[in-house]
């Protein structure tokens, strides 16, 4: 799952070391456009439903938090 999320992130915003980056939102790496594209791609890829309650900065800060978000939605 992790690799697939990184792949999606690289398509949206290449040139970022997603394995080590821990502040994708705080540091302004991902913009609101990127987040929406990411949500659309995660929804399609993992067949999950992300609601507005999930759209909080903490869920999009790093690959780990994204992985947790997808896992929680798959349950």
């Amino acid at each position: 799952m992790k690799n697939r999320i990184i792949e999606i992130l690289n398509q949206i915003k290449p040139g970022v070391d997603y394995n080590s980056e821990k502040h994708l939102i705080t540091d302004g790496i991902l913009t609101s456009f990127d987040i929406v594209t990411l949500i659309a791609n995660l929804t399609e890829e993992f067949d999950i439903e992300i609601t507005i309650k999930d759209v909080i900065p903490e869920n999009f800060e790093s690959i780990e938090t994204l992985e947790k978000l997808v896992e929680s939605k798959e349950e």
């Binding site: 913009t31 987040i35 929406v36 659309a40 309650k53 909080i56």
Partner: protein
């Protein structure tokens, strides 16, 4: 009560002095009294609209809280799964109903008071009716505090935080008097608690905030009001030739100096009470794209629209369906762009409409909608061109070019924002082609005024440049010796007193964004 008036300055000093005299736990009452005095004195019985907003969101929040508690208790109930599901559904419905009611009350007040004639003219033209127009006197900051009120109730609904059971906190949050002109649009979780808890007096911070307030006054009455004289003359269509361009760029300087100056005053007053209000500007003219510009200009409105319009519309079932269908197209970026159409349209339509119910503002919103969509769509193409041309995109010259292009697009948007109506745009395009019929000195009432504007704008630019590079000028000043610090304080005060545009013929009290 006007923002730029002696009575307002007196209110700032009296309220902050009393604030630090009373016991720390009761200090919020001083802010409550100052808020009530400011608003009732300024808006008289129209203060009731604000009270209605406060009461509606306070009780709606409490009801939603109760329903959420009941909903969470369902898990513990010893009933079967299907029954639990039905019960949860019932509570979700109740929650939604209360949210809708609160939104209708708050949005209803805004729409009736500010947009009544727009809807009346729409009904009249649709049904050939003859309903007469009525103009309400809109209470101070209606558009601003309504957005704050909506953010509170939506956040409570979305369980971002619990609703407060202390009415004083809602009262303070919606009526904090410095916010009652042009915002910034605050969130309850940012300032609700801060306004309620008492703050200790800090001499250094107090001085810093007084300096920031004076600096705000300088931007407003030394730079903005001085440029405003020239801008007003040009936009009354009496001038022609390159002077039109001067007027358009002058307006960009005017609105930035004025709006950001007002924010300096507001945030400075908040700071006098020890309250940290959100910033509304972050060196917008160093932005390298229009998208970035809107993340640095009127930040609190931008983030409000992002959180309460852009994200909900983007991930709505309808838009997700559009996105799914679009992703059948092989070119992924086009599919992503298609998925942006609806959310961006909603954001920019509301952005335009929020400013006023006229075609001009709606087209202003649509201008940015098209610009944002195109800039997103063309991103890969620009990248490809840069790769083909071996352009180094990480150098100063490229950044400068990006900032310059952004400035041109933003300036065109500002011109659209400033004209009286859409015919004004045609008139400006016509006038700019005619020979110059006056000179700059006449427009500014003499070269001295022009020099003050130039020096003021350069100072503004240098301070923004330092901020852009992470240099905090206030911290730098605090490191200096006492004598130097006081010379700086005195200089800024003297500049405002000597070069400020006030007195007969100047309307120093009005703010462009105060009208929204």
């Amino acid at each position: 009560m006007n923002f730029i008036s002696l009575e307002f300055i007196a209110l700032i000093f009296i309220s902050t002095i009393i604030y630090y005299i009373v016991p720390i736990k009761k200090r919020y009452l001083v802010i409550c009294l100052a808020n009530a005095f400011f608003y009732v004195y300024s808006c008289k019985f129209r203060s009731l609209y604000l009270l209605a907003s406060m009461v509606s969101i306070f009780f709606a929040g409490l009801f939603i809280n109760k329903i959420i508690i009941k909903k969470n208790e369902v898990k513990e109930l010893k009933i079967d799964k299907e029954e639990k599901k039905l019960l949860k559904k019932k509570y979700n419905k109740q929650k939604k109903l209360i949210l809708l009611l609160a939104i209708i009350i708050n949005l209803g007040i805004l729409l009736v008071l500010k947009y009544d004639n727009f809807f009346i003219s729409m009904i009249n033209s649709l049904f050939s009716s003859k309903i007469s127009f009525h103009t309400f006197i809109v209470p101070f900051a209606l558009s601003y505090y309504t957005l704050s009120a909506l953010s509170y109730i939506i956040d409570v609904y979305n369980e971002k935080y619990e609703a407060t059971n202390n009415f004083f906190k809602i009262f303070l949050f919606l009526s904090f008097y410095p916010l009652m002109v042009e915002g910034p649009i605050c969130r309850f979780n940012e300032i609700g608690e801060q306004l309620f808890e008492g703050h200790q007096f800090d001499y250094q911070k107090y001085c810093n905030n007084l300096l920031r307030i004076t600096w705000g006054f300088m931007k407003k009455i030394v730079i903005a009001d001085r440029v405003g004289v020239c801008v007003d003359a040009i936009f009354s269509y009496g001038y022609s030739g390159p002077l039109i361009l001067l007027g358009v760029f002058g307006y960009v300087i005017q609105i930035y100096a004025e709006f950001s100056g007002c924010m300096d005053i507001v945030i400075g007053i908040g700071g006098l009470f020890g309250i940290k209000l959100p910033e509304n500007f972050n060196t917008p003219f160093f932005s390298r794209s229009v998208d970035e510009f809107w993340r640095r200009w009127h930040i609190t409105l931008g983030t409000w629209l992002k959180d309460y319009i852009f994200y909900p519309v983007s991930i709505s079932k309808l838009n997700m369906k559009v996105s799914m269908l679009a992703h059948k197209i092989k070119w992924r970026h086009l599919a992503d762009t298609i998925a942006m159409i609806l959310p961006l349209f909603c954001v920019w339509f509301i952005m335009g409409f929020w400013h006023g119910p006229t075609n001009k503002y709606i087209i202003y919103g649509m201008y940015y909608f098209v610009l944002m969509l195109l800039s997103y769509l063309l991103k890969p193409l620009i990248k490809k061109i840069n790769e083909l041309l071996h352009t180094n995109t990480e150098v100063f010259s490229y950044h400068l070019l990006q900032s310059f292009i952004t400035l041109i697009f933003v300036t065109l948007g500002m011109a659209l924002f400033r004209v009286a109506d859409l015919n004004g745009v045609k008139l400006l395009i016509y006038m700019v082609q005619l020979p110059m019929n006056s000179n700059i000195s006449i427009l500014f009432n003499g070269y001295a005024n022009l020099m003050i504007v130039i020096l003021g704008t350069i100072t503004l630019f240098i301070i923004d440049l330092m901020k852009y590079h992470g240099i905090n000028i206030m911290d730098k000043l605090n490191e200096q010796n006492l004598v130097f610090k006081y010379i700086v304080y005195l200089t800024v005060i003297m500049v405002v007193l000597i070069f400020g545009m006030y007195g007969t013929g100047y309307d120093a009290s009005s703010f462009i964004y105060g009208g929204f």
